[in-house]
Symmetry: C2
Subunit: 395 residues, 2 copies
């Protein structure tokens, strides 16, 4: 399995353009088109408040067939009532007219401010030139068009070989706030040319999402628009059911790559930190502790301050509501042990731990020394810029 | 029942001094002394990681009798192993020697950095002058000595009358980070001269804490040192069991006052916001939604930005994991309705809501229109200063 510099995938073309939904004139409308009916599976937000495009997609995806995806930034089309659903449906109709495909086989996604209605007129006007610019190399332009507070477009592509034949998996995603386990204001679109039916895709997508997007957190908020789609054109010579492990690995790899990019490019993020919990009574306990630490503002501001304040780590672990003996806990910053049996080591250890925290990425390992449960979560620091971005977002 | 400007309570004297635990030379050691054996009850942190003074107090309080409290700032004496407990015990012995009371009747409390050992020598040296300065008017000085990142000392005092006799309730508390429902890095010491046994005090303290300190949040972190003590000298002419409602009201009032002061003086706080949830299926559901909203970084940064971003409120409510119909929800900023049936109202409403958000204190009311469940939680904004204070705390 190899990573591809140039993302492409047989059957799929993509494009992005500026249609005026964003006030600043930046790209805000993207499309992915499949030249044949693609199989599709999706994972959507569990928030009780769900945006219109999520509601529509959940209906349209039931056929298992997708021909095109239309995604816009600049407006979440959420909390927009019946009008919001009408606007989402109208978007699929416009795509249908421009592409010559069934409207029911078009999926839509929106991201941006909640509560603003979608200006479909702008989308209508932009569609002809968007369709004209569809290209097998268009994933970068597509990724650019779905950015909100992201700083960089996010694309990951891998190629895998099975019995002398190759297949591709290409994904494009956007963050960058409202990211947490259980999905996010995260949109992610994954295309593959492997041969796979919707059920196979579903079986592969759920664990891939659980091991990647559901293990990252930027601010603990969950979006109303989270959507991950996996589409298969079937145009390669490889059948997924003959190499399920390899296919799973390829989809996992793309999801993990994109998840890592999301955290790294999170709002105001300077540090990407892996919280690695070992020795808990169960994996579930370990996950619970990892989550509490990953969300703790005191821990996250200490990361920002490059302060090896291990007491905050222990205090956060202690309020996770799971068994823990503070007198046996060990804590490491990368390879540097800072805490042994619940007590801080010397100034030298602290100086070395502080050096580790100056790195842009590091791991905090906490060993509870109770059992075999383990979990890891990817988090980030909490910085001035996070506050600035989110205090000023709408102004 | 009236609020007293000058806090005092028969039998109790208090004092504060600087003993050198804080590098900056500010007051860091406080004492409350009771001239007679006081009844006592306490509520302590539920964090699994508990500081040495908490462990010792839980033992000493079992007698139901307290003669003195020693509280220090500048060092939490937490994650300090067996040495930490020895240091806490030694502190009670030193107080015992200076005050002529049993060491077992001395309670201790510490707040400050976790993982640093307590320099008992400094406490030993300071005790004689601390005891000399004990005064019925010393609650202000005591409150000053327990401050960490607090900006102002926090004292609340009320006097109530029952059948022509008065009794007093005086409380001193400190915040200001690690504050959340389920207690906090909060220390709170309440003295009363009512006649009450330890069981009566316990019965009154728990609901008072639940209705006050357990309903506030600054950053969602729970401290390892949280302690609330209620002590009764019995030197007034009023017996608590003859006026339980009135006594409860008086303790509630002091706790609510102090809780409000804690949020107002929270780290980097510019806005004190009441999250008021109405119309949930149950009070428990309402509380769950209020908590999620009160902790949401996106909501809190919007408060800081004075941005009536109601979409974030709805999105946070939606991920609380309780039943909610987004199409019927109403949202108000004080009296200004911003959302009706899940949709934002016009620009005029938004302009008025934005005016409300410019106030230093306001209420966000969310009516789910499903049932009769309700709850309210006091929270605050998330500002640059919160990040600054917590990134730099130890440097």
């Amino acid at each position: 399995m190899k990573t591809l510099e140039k993302a492409s995938c047989q059957g799929f073309s993509a494009a992005g353009t500026a249609c005026g939904l964003k006030k600043n004139g930046k790209p805000d409308l993207g499309m992915i088109f499949c030249s044949v009916p693609a199989s599709v599976a999706g994972v959507f937000t569990r928030n009780k408040v769900q945006a219109a495009p999520v509601l529509l997609d959940k209906k349209n995806i039931s056929s298992g067939v997708c021909r095109a995806v239309v995604a816009n930034s600049g407006c979440a089309n959420c909390c927009t009532g019946k009008r919001g659903v009408d606007d989402a449906v109208e978007t699929t109709r416009l795509a249908s007219g421009n592409l010559g495909v069934d409207a029911e086989n078009v999926l839509v996604a929106s991201t941006g401010v909640i509560g603003k209605t979608l200006d479909v007129e702008k989308i209508r006007n932009a569609f002809p030139r968007l369709v004209d610019s569809l290209s097998p190399d268009g994933f970068g332009a597509f990724a650019q068009a779905i950015m909100t507070t992201d700083n960089v477009p996010k694309v990951s592509a891998v190629q895998a070989e099975f019995e002398g034949q190759t297949f591709n998996v290409v994904g494009a995603a956007k963050g960058a706030g409202m990211i947490r386990p259980d999905m996010a204001t995260m949109l992610c679109f994954i295309c593959t040319d492997i041969q796979a039916n919707p059920n196979t895709l579903k079986r592969v997508l759920r664990p891939a999402v659980d091991a990647s997007f559901n293990r990252i957190t930027i601010d603990g908020d969950t979006s109303t628009n989270d959507t991950v789609l996996l589409m298969a054109s079937g145009l390669s010579q490889v059948a997924a059911n003959r190499c399920m492990d390899l296919f799973q690995q390829a989809v996992d790899k793309v999801c993990l790559d994109l998840a890592h990019m999301l955290v790294k490019d999170g709002e105001g993020v300077n540090k990407v930190v892996t919280i690695d919990i070992q020795g808990a009574d169960s994996d579930q306990d370990a996950r619970r502790i990892a989550d509490v630490i990953a969300h703790s503002p005191l821990v996250k501001t200490a990361f920002f301050g490059e302060d090896a304040n291990w007491g905050r780590l222990l205090a956060a672990a202690g309020r996770a509501g799971v068994p823990l003996d503070p007198y046996v806990v060990d804590i490491f910053f990368n390879e540097v042990q800072m805490v042994k049996d619940g007590m801080g080591l010397d100034m030298e250890a602290e100086a070395m731990a502080t050096e580790v925290m100056k790195l842009p990425e590091f791991t905090v390992k906490i060993d509870l020394k109770m059992g075999k449960g383990q979990a890891s979560v990817l988090t980030c620091d909490l910085s001035y810029d996070y506050v600035k971005i989110n205090a000023d977002y709408r102004s």
